[in-house]
């Protein structure tokens, strides 16, 4: 009897300890998040003022200056990437969901999965070979293309999932009215799945906004304010990298500011994505 109680007691202790361990794990996992946000706000907010948004970077070593080129550059590079990546991604997603059993869809799905797991820097290397080298110079366009390549598998997957959620009875009803398969897919199915598709698109845009590696040798960065996509361009992510790894303390301060702006931008897209789905309910 005593040993039974002893063993049960021990098991109870073990259970409590392990349960607490998981709570500890959860807490530990969340701590870095709070730390990062805290430091971003503390260190970043101090360098973010109006000049930060409006000015170009100051000459190396001097204080002041802003990240206007980076902000505009991010807008251009991400914007063009979205223009390229979203139609292809959504189209592929609809194709896979509607015609998912053909041999072509197997190839599409395979390529998409492979791309999904590829390190982003390798995408940058490939685009460098295809675009930068033949063109002879870096360009925002090359940057956009690499971001689009990263974006397409993400968007394809979420679009396919969302379109698959549309009940088959809706498709049948449309077909019975005399709609062609493509018209059914686009006008009925896609429209019904649209909120979910938009969410997936916004999440993908949020992800590529933060990307740096593929831009290292495609968009490359620029000290000056530029809007021509055929020229090298600066983005917030590249700016953070350059400033953080640079030798000047002033640069480090600006890096935090740029990082704060970047993370805010990413969060706006991410939370915007959630907001879209919330409205549906």
């Amino acid at each position: 009897m005593i040993t039974m109680t002893g063993r049960r007691f021990r098991r109870r202790i073990v259970s409590r300890v392990m349960t607490s361990a998981t709570v500890l794990a959860a807490t530990l996992a969340v701590i870095p998040l709070f730390m990062i946000f805290a430091y971003l706000l503390l260190k970043g907010a101090s360098s973010v003022d109006l000049n930060f948004f409006l000015q170009n970077p100051a000459p190396a070593g001097t204080s002041g200056g802003g990240v206007a080129p980076a902000i505009v550059g991010t807008g251009i590079v991400v914007g063009i990437a979205a223009l390229i990546g979203l139609p292809i991604g959504v189209g592929a997603g609809v194709f896979l969901a509607e015609f998912g059993t053909s041999r072509l869809s197997f190839i599409v799905r395979f390529v998409s999965d492979v791309l999904n797991g590829t390190p982003s820097i390798l995408v940058g290397v490939v685009v460098w070979t295809w675009m930068v080298r033949p063109m002879g110079h870096f360009s925002a366009l090359a940057g956009s293309v690499s971001l689009a390549i990263l974006m397409i598998p993400m968007v394809t997957r979420t679009t396919e999932e969302m379109v698959n959620l549309v009940p088959g009875s809706l498709r049948e009803a449309a077909l019975a009215l005399g709609y062609t398969r493509w018209r059914t897919s686009l006008k009925i199915v896609l429209r019904t799945a649209l909120p979910g598709v938009v969410t997936g698109a916004l999440v993908a845009v949020a992800r590529i906004t933060g990307e740096t590696a593929p831009l290292l040798f495609t968009a490359f960065g620029n000290l000056n304010f530029r809007t021509d996509p055929l020229e090298p361009m600066q983005t917030l992510s590249l700016q953070v990298f350059t400033y953080a790894t640079g030798p000047f303390p002033e640069w480090h301060r600006l890096a935090w500011g740029a990082a704060l702006v970047l993370v805010t931008l990413v969060l706006v897209f991410s939370l915007g994505a959630r907001y879209v789905t919330r409205r549906r309910f």
Binding site: S169, L177, G178
Partner: protein, 262 residues
């Protein structure tokens, strides 16, 4: 087997099947059915579940071939020409033969008006009035006009189940088809709505040839003029409804309608 026409004076038949066989891959679900549908009447198709009723119905508007492995042999004649002929456009056919499904399926992103108009081909700007007229006519024909006339621009999803089904019927009749196919239209509805649909079916026959698949014999007896009994993929017997239920010729028909199986 076909029905005994001469003595009963049936109206002409715009729709008929000739040796119709429908298969999924290599398994025939419907075998060599010869059936005629008298114009502007209601024909009910009854039989135990799995006997091929819905498959047969879906052959009449070429929906069966859209299923995985769906193949069709034989003919379906609409006004004398085979709808399975190579020269027939399946899309245009489906505008002449409308279908309503078991589960009400209004398009969720469209308003009531847009739903009803969904099947109409709007051929250019000047036809907007024509569309409104057709929508109104269709909604009246579906006995839904009074209930929704004031809120045509609201979402179709706000309607009740019975109203949604009537909306689907309105959507199906808006293009003014020749034939309306109803696949167990009341199975998913409550008794009150079911009654409404059954009344509607009776009204529809003044303008359309109606074919209704139902697993509910009483419903078949209530709404139809002609009834066809299917069993295990074959047409066993088809005749006027009264005769099928009171005087069936086949044993199997009698067994089914008296409730001994099914």
């Amino acid at each position: 087997m076909s029905r005994d026409d001469a003595s009963k004076g049936t109206p002409a038949c715009r729709l008929a099947t000739v040796d119709l066989t429908a298969s999924f891959f290599d398994n025939a679900a419907v075998r060599k059915v010869n059936l005629e549908f008298p114009t502007k009447t209601v024909t009910a198709i009854i039989g135990p579940s799995g006997c091929g009723k819905s498959t047969f119905l879906r052959c009449l508007n070429r929906m069966h071939e859209l299923s995985d492995g769906g193949t069709v042999q034989g003919k379906v004649l609409l006004d004398g020409s085979d709808i399975y002929d190579r020269s027939t456009d399946a899309i245009r056919l489906r505008q002449r033969v409308g279908m309503v499904f078991q589960k009400p399926t209004p398009f969720p992103t469209m308003t009531i008006f847009q739903n009803v108009a969904a099947g109409l081909r709007v051929n250019g700007r000047g036809r907007v009035d024509a569309v409104s007229d057709r929508v109104e006519a269709a909604l009246k024909g579906a006995a839904l006009w009074d209930e929704v006339a004031h809120r045509l621009n609201t979402s179709a999803m706000e309607l009740s189940g019975g109203q949604q089904q009537r909306l689907c019927i309105a959507r199906a009749i808006a293009p003014r088809p020749d034939v309306v196919l109803l696949d167990e239209p009341t199975s998913a509805l409550d008794p009150a709505s079911t009654q409404g649909i059954e009344d509607l079916v009776q009204d529809l026959k003044s303008d359309y040839t109606v074919v209704i698949v139902t697993h509910n014999m009483q419903q078949a007896a209530r709404v139809s003029d002609y009834t066809a009994f299917f069993y295990l993929g074959e047409l066993i017997e088809a005749d006027r409804t009264d005769d099928i239920f009171r005087n069936p010729r086949e044993d199997r028909t009698e067994a089914y309608v008296t409730g001994r199986f099914g």
